[in-house]
Amino acid sequence: DAGITQSPRHKVTETGTPVTLRCHQTENHRYMYWYRQDPGHGLRLIHYSYGVKDTDKGEVSDGYSVSRSKTEDFLLTLESATSSQTSVYFCAIPGAGELFFGEGSRLTVL
């Protein structure tokens, strides 16, 4: 299995508070991705990174920022969480042709 872990796995927070999710990989891969998963929408790309300090937006990037200061870590930040950001967040890294997903981080914004 690809070495990819997410933290925290579960988080409950209140509207307006900042939240940071962490994705850690041990595969030394250039590319890392953040997706969110909601019923009826499948997985939607939030942001991705193609190297240290190199990031780009996905299709649902509004309200999210990312940072990558080290190859192994990709952080997703919600500056001021809203109820619409309640979701399951998956980090992913590429393999030979596929994507390997982390276990997911379930975020609830009250």
Partner: protein, 111 residues
Amino acid sequence: QQPVQSPQAVILREGEDAVINCSSSKALYSVHWYRQKHGEAPVFLMILLKGGEQKGHEKISASFNEKKQQSSLYLTASQLSYSGTYFCGTETSGSARQLTFGSGTQLTVLP
């Protein structure tokens, strides 16, 4: 734009066959198929590349019609372990692995 999957849900008896379809309005470079069990991460099944051939994985296979930008996933003699939600992911270029996923097909296999 998100690829369209059909059907949204299907219920089978063990041993029956199923087909899940994925259609895109864009020219595709590749189509990926993933299966997700409840509460778990999606798991890769197979990838079909433009110009490639039909792929197979035990009793699960898939095809890719480049002219129609459609892919189909075939599950034959389904087993209880096949239950889950199936997603297709489409890629329009060969770089960056930026997949756009369909909304999923929930497959339930009953004994």
